[in-house]
Symmetry: C2
Subunit: 121 residues, 2 copies
């Protein structure tokens, strides 16, 4: 058993690229991933899992076809399985995501911004 | 679809009692619960689920039979399924827990501090 706590800020210090989630922990069948985001991501959905967003630093928006929500530090939102969404951050934002292990960042949309193999950090 | 973000601080303002987790969200088969803790809880384990602890405010310790870890704000730890543990907080601490829906706070130990029905808040 790994007896070290996971410190979010320390983990975020280990990389700088945007839109490239890193796995930091597994609980049951779920991965905890952190990502730095800035700008607009692509519209996509995850047919196999709900997806939790928790803002650790900064602000983000999650766009839906029928509107958008604003998320700030100390806030979370769960995008239901199958619901199209597009994460956006005007300025650098650090987020924690929780979702089924094996989930692909671009979901059912694919394309250039797909990270084929999400690494642990 | 509920389009409101969940604000942790606002949720913590809705109750004051210690060691009484409240459900704030569900992702797949997992519940997100918040709790205010102070003092020592009972030794227990959860044979059916890993259990994630994220400290939102304050500090806590998780004791294991072979030692203890310290968790502060912005840190998390996942207690593996079946591992005996005892949460402790010298001063008031606010935590977010993620675990399989239906998990009982005292796990396999039962006793006076068991919350029979965890409520949503």
């Amino acid at each position: 058993m790994d007896q070290h706590p996971i410190n979010f800020a320390a983990k975020f210090n280990l990389f700088s690229e945007f839109w490239s989630p890193k796995i930091i922990a597994q609980m049951n069948d779920c991965h905890f991933k952190i990502a730095k985001i800035q700008g607009e991501f692509v519209w996509h959905s995850h047919p196999e899992t709900d997806e939790t967003f928790i803002v650790i630093r900064g602000k983000m928006q999650i766009h839906f076809r029928e509107g958008a929500i604003n998320l700030g530090e100390g806030e979370m939102f769960i995008v239901p399985m199958g619901v199209e969404h597009k994460p956006v951050a005007k300025q650098e934002c650090h987020i924690l995501m929780i979702e089924l292990a094996g989930t692909i960042n671009t979901g059912d949309s694919g394309g250039q911004r797909t990270i084929e193999e999400t690494v642990w950090i």
